[in-house]
């Protein structure tokens, strides 16, 4: 087999960087770009879903932790925005183009195009990566289709709404060797508090880990009544595309990102992502799921028990965090604080013989860096799949109102036909992936 392909300059630069080849790159000033990164050297991106979350990623806000969002990054060129609402996509597109128009050397001021159908974004061969911030029930389907189209993917949480589609994301991303980053940014952001907490727990600073209070319990989706009279669909909205793989339902005015959620589907993956990290469970998952009243919890094979509630009397943890309890102390962490009992546990610096975890100080930066060097992101497809599974298992248990046994190797409930049927939900055609 001998293949020699002719490449465009941009393709060559992109893939040369990926392969670690150091091509001769002329500085922007030589190209008359006043120091700006030439468009041909940038990572080109499309944004699918530009509401509050996606708009924040695109243009700046709480979600990206970088002023100006991806649009403001020198190494990124936003080529497409997509939303089922016309005003959202048009506004986002205008703001991106306005930004570029104000930047010397950024090339054409009308580089970004607006799309209603994300498949048109995926069809563009000049787009390297997509950021998916659509409604939650779309996340996995879009991720799978993006991977099939050869795009690198940043996907908001929850990264899937069923166990089966979560596994399918993992398989597809692996099949195509795509760079995938889940939008569980706590491993990177918040001054490394979550990383430190996990390093200390895994280093044995609190003795043997016994239990974790995750603050939130399991989640899933349900479909509402799908028959009856609906309201007229506004002309600016593509309702069919909003529903996507969900069953057809009459328009009722709700186009929220989490309208089908039950339980803690929205925030749960943030918490369970950190729980998994601290429990050293990124390649595995629970073996038992239980209910404590209305709240789900689970156990790992190691014997560590995870409760879907706060640690009694502990204020730290509610903002995406958890409280880790060991035989010799405990550590509570969230976006705002990290504390321990005894207090010295978190004050003593980490030694070189203790556990040091993957370090990323910028979640979006880590994604872009991995696109360039084809490395694995801090919240890669397997990390995302296992954290999402921990969350969704609780959702199944809550639906069945009983405890379950789970085999994290085969990803099946043990001798439980009824529960196994709830691992997947049939998708509406044509969203069959």
């Amino acid at each position: 087999m001998s293949i020699n392909r002719n490449l465009s300059r941009r393709q060559f630069l992109r893939r040369a960087a990926a392969a670690g080849i150091a091509p001769l790159v002329l500085p922007g000033s030589v190209l008359g770009l006043n120091g700006a990164t030439p468009p041909s050297n940038r990572i080109t991106m499309g944004f699918i879903g530009v509401g509050t979350q996606g708009g924040g990623h695109l243009l700046g806000g709480a979600w990206t932790y970088v002023a100006g969002g991806y649009t403001g990054r020198k190494e990124v060129q936003v080529l497409a925005v997509c939303d089922v609402w016309q005003d959202r996509r048009d506004n986002a597109c205008r703001r991106v183009n306005d930004y570029y128009a104000g930047q010397a050397g950024a090339g054409s001021s009308q580089v970004c195009k607006a799309y209603v159908d994300f498949r048109a974004v995926l069809d563009r061969p000049d787009i390297d990566a997509v950021l998916i911030a659509s409604p939650a029930h779309w996340h996995a389907t879009m991720s799978i289709m993006a991977a099939m189209a050869g795009k690198d993917i940043y996907c908001e949480k929850p990264t899937a709404v069923t166990l089966q589609e979560s596994h399918q994301v993992l398989d597809t991303v692996r099949r195509y060797s795509r760079v995938y980053q889940a939008g569980t940014q706590q491993r990177s952001e918040y001054a490394g508090k979550f990383r430190l907490a996990c390093e200390l727990v895994r280093s044995g600073r609190i003795g043997k880990l016994q239990s974790i209070y995750a603050w939130r319990d399991g989640g899933g989706v349900f479909w509402p009544n799908r028959f009856g009279a609906g309201n007229p669909v506004p002309p600016q909205l593509d309702w069919d595309l909003y529903l996507g793989p969900a069953p057809w339902i009459p328009f009722d005015g709700n186009t929220g990102p989490h309208r089908f959620d039950i339980g803690e589907l929205n925030w749960g993956q943030h918490h369970y992502d950190i729980v998994q990290w601290a429990a050293d469970a990124d390649k595995t998952g629970p073996v038992e799921v239980f209910l404590e009243g209305e709240l789900s919890g689970y156990k790992y094979a190691s014997g560590v028990t995870v409760y879907g509630k706060p640690y009694p009397g502990e204020a730290v943890g509610g903002d995406g965090g958890a409280c880790f309890v060991g035989t010799e102390g405990r550590i509570a962490v969230d976006r705002g604080s990290i504390k321990s009992d005894p207090p010295g546990i978190v004050l003593e610096p980490l030694r070189s013989d203790e556990v040091h975890l993957y370090r990323s100080d910028s979640h979006s930066g880590n994604f872009l860096e991995c696109i360039r060097n084809r490395g694995r992101t801090i919240c890669n497809e397997e990390v995302a799949h296992r954290a999402a599974s921990a969350l969704l298992l609780g959702g199944v248990s809550k639906q069945l109102k009983r405890a379950l046994k789970w085999n994290p190797a085969t990803e099946e409930f043990v001798n439980d036909d009824e529960a196994n049927r709830l691992r997947s939900i049939a998708k509406r055609a044509p969203w069959c992936v």
Binding site: M1, S2, I3, N4, R5, L7, R15, A16, A18, A19, G20, I21, A22, P125, M148, A149, G150, Q164, R175, Y176, S177, R178, F222, W223, P224, R226, F227, G228, P247, W248, I262, L347, E348, L350, R351, S352, D353, E354, H356, N373, R374, R376, K398, Q399, K401, R402, D417, E418, N420, R421, L422, R423, S424, A426, K427, R428, A429, P430, C432, V433
Partner: protein, 646 residues
């Protein structure tokens, strides 16, 4: 599917019974049942349905409104009857309804559907071809042939779906072991796909489908070839495959690989944890290419062990810029105790520059066991390693090491070592204080009382960071030492102290010290020790008392300004009264007015009526608009507080 909500919210989980299922089937078959009722029945059958319920749901599969509801149940039922039902309806449906059935057959892994789907994957309708290709991709080896046929005929919009189906099938076949059929499928895509991501996926599969004995050769060929998609796939495999199954062969070939590609190969071998590559990678530290050397250093930090320590320390000592930074980081990144032991050995035997690098690394690694050898190094080494050793000691010494560090200060004959060692005592003390809330000061106190003058002078600044009766007493004694240099250092330590118990000493110093400069320093120290930083250790009355005593002294304007800055922080009426007469002093009028307005605005509402006339007197006394403006704003706020609330 409304029923799923109802079951979730309202009904306990219950074992299925034949009676339940019969009732639900009756609903499905009832002409009078509504769409919603039938939908709810399907949702219930998803969980409890048996093969008995399949025919009733099959009857719904061709109905536009209810096909999805029936699929919702049938798709996850573990009975062959469900698959047969879906297949049987395929020919009776079209459009989106048929695509839904195709999908469900794929999800179920129904190999009986291969012939039917094999026809549909050649259908003129693009969406049908896509659905059939994706479904066939889930059906394993039996679907390979129809997909290969479709690949030859596909173009445009459906090509990606057909490729995905082919890749999925071939991957399933590959997972069972080396497979010529899978290889042929992967090769088809690798040779003919224009899309790089398809070629990358196909090459990855092609290698995997080959006999493992060939993987090393294929990886080397892939990396050395001209297709960057293949290069990327080969590099990725270097990261994910076990060393013996290919990456070790790449490592052996590394010196012959183009230097432009070597950094990427090194990085991927390192990320794969292939320790067999360490020797080859270490050999590349002598490369002409700075990129290669940098990648090699970083890789050694990832893959290396205790035996890598000498070469890394030498590199850190002999390079600059990114290479030195990488080598220093690698010396810290090599985790565990054996590398620490190697670093300790270097402390004892290596060149001074290497000793310094080893000491630096030991400090950052945080191993307490390195304290003794570092003290030895500090005693005997030349200036460079000596300073680094002391800095490292400050990072890792514990309470039990403080006597030895203080001893180092006392024994030191040269000023440089004495000062470095004293800084180590200070760093260690502050660190321990932050972690545990206390630090043992016995040796320090003893040295200040009985040590040689030079040691006392070096250690007195350390004592200023501790608050304990012993330390305070030692500072008082030292302040009266017969050696003027010692007493001067002690006075400076008193002024820098964090111990509020020393405020009386400082008040006395502010009143009695001969030197104007010393009096001024004492005033500032008093104000600091009763300021906001130590508010928890002093009552408001005590703070006011100290300020009042200070103001009784013959202070210069600049010292009065310092006192006023402290008074401004007290939210009590008496503070306002103390400030009032100072407004008349022209040199400090602005600061007094500022303090008065600050105090007035922080008073409680109950104090407002009493504060009003005092503040008015302050306003009457000021002579500039700039000073008056904030006071009037404060007056207005006080006035509002005195108005009755309606």
């Amino acid at each position: 599917m409304f029923a799923s909500v109802m079951f979730l919210v309202a009904t306990p989980a219950m074992p299925a019974s034949a009676q339940d299922e019969s009732q639900i089937i009756t609903v499905l078959q009832s002409p009078s049942a509504s769409l919603a009722e039938k939908d709810a029945a399907c949702a219930r059958l998803k969980r409890i349905g048996t093969a008995r319920s399949v025919p009733a749901m099959q009857a719904l599969l061709a109905e536009t409104n209810l096909s999805h509801s029936a699929r919702y149940a049938l798709e996850s039922m573990p009975f062959p009857e469900a698959g047969t039902a879906l297949l049987a309806e395929l020919e009776k449906t079209d459009g989106l309804t048929r695509m839904g059935l195709i999908h469900s057959l794929g999800i179920r892994g129904e190999t009986i559907a291969v012939p039917a789907l094999g026809k549909l994957v050649l259908d003129p309708d693009v969406d049908t071809v896509r659905a059939a290709a994706v479904a066939l991709g889930k059906l394993g080896s039996s679907a390979l042939e129809p997909l290969q046929t479709a690949w030859g005929k596909s173009s445009g919009a459906v090509r990606l779906a057909v490729a995905d189906g082919l890749l999925s099938c071939a991957s399933a076949l590959r997972r069972e072991g080396p497979s010529e059929a899978a290889q042929a499928a992967f090769k088809l895509i690798c040779d003919h796909a224009a899309e790089p991501h398809l070629r990358q996926a196909a090459w990855r599969g092609f290698v995997g489908a080959s006999h493992p004995s060939r993987w090393g050769e294929l990886l080397v060929d892939g990396i050395s070839g001209k297709d960057m998609a293949v290069q990327n796939a080969s590099l990725e495999l270097c990261r994910v495959l076990p060393g013996k199954l290919g990456p070790d062969a790449v490592a052996r070939a590394l010196p012959q690989i183009d230097a432009g590609l070597q950094p990427a190969v090194i990085r991927n071998l390192a990320q794969g944890g292939h320790k067999e590559a360490l020797v080859t990678i270490t050999g590349l530290l002598g490369s002409q290419s700075a990129e290669v050397r940098l990648a090699a250093i970083q890789a050694i930090g990832f893959l290396g062990s205790a035996t890598s320590i000498p070469v890394l320390a030498k590199t850190a000592a002999s390079t600059t810029g990114p290479e030195q930074a990488a080598a220093r980081q690698a010396l810290v990144d090599l985790h565990g105790l054996p590398p620490t032991d190697s670093l300790v050995e270097l402390l004892q035997n290596a060149d001074p520059a290497i000793q310094a690098e080893s000491a630096r690394a030991l400090g950052l690694r945080g191993h307490h066991g390195a304290v003794k050898p570092l003290i030895e190094l500090a005693r005997k080494a030349p200036a460079g390693p000596q300073e680094t050793a002391c800095a490292a000691l400050g990072q890792i010494a514990s309470d039990s090491d403080l006597p030895a560090l203080v001893g180092l200060v006392i024994e030191a004959k040269a000023d440089a070592l004495r000062n470095h060692a004293a800084r180590a005592v200070q760093s260690a003390s502050q660190r321990l204080l932050a972690i545990r809330g206390s630090v043992i000061t016995d040796t320090l106190v003893q040295a200040i009382r009985q040590g040689p003058p030079a040691a006392k002078i070096a250690l007195l600044p350390v004592a200023s960071g501790s608050a304990s009766p012993d330390v305070a007493a030692a500072l008082r004694e030292a302040a009266h030492d017969s050696d003027p240099a010692v007493s001067a250092a002690a006075f400076q330590a008193l002024c820098d102290s964090v111990d509020v118990a020393l405020v009386p000493d400082l008040l006395e110093a502010a009143a009695r010290r001969a030197e104007l400069r010393d009096r001024s320093a004492a005033v500032r120290a008093c104000v600091r020790l009763v300021g906001p930083e130590h508010a928890g250790q002093n009552s408001l009355d005590r703070r006011l008392e100290v300020f009042t005593q200070l103001l009784k002294l013959p202070l210069r304007p600049e010292e009065k300004r310092v006192v006023l800055s402290g008074l401004a922080e007290l939210p009590i009426l008496d503070a306002l009264r103390v400030v009032l007469p100072m407004v008349a002093e022209k040199e400090v009028q602005a600061e007094a007015a500022g303090a008065a307005s600050r105090i007035a605005t922080s008073l409680s509402a109950g104090d407002a009526p009493t504060a009003l006339p005092i503040l008015q007197q302050v306003i009457d006394s000021v002579t500039t608009d700039a000073a008056r403006k904030p006071l009037e704003a404060a007056l207005q706020k006080l006035n509002e507080q005195t108005k009755p609330k309606l």
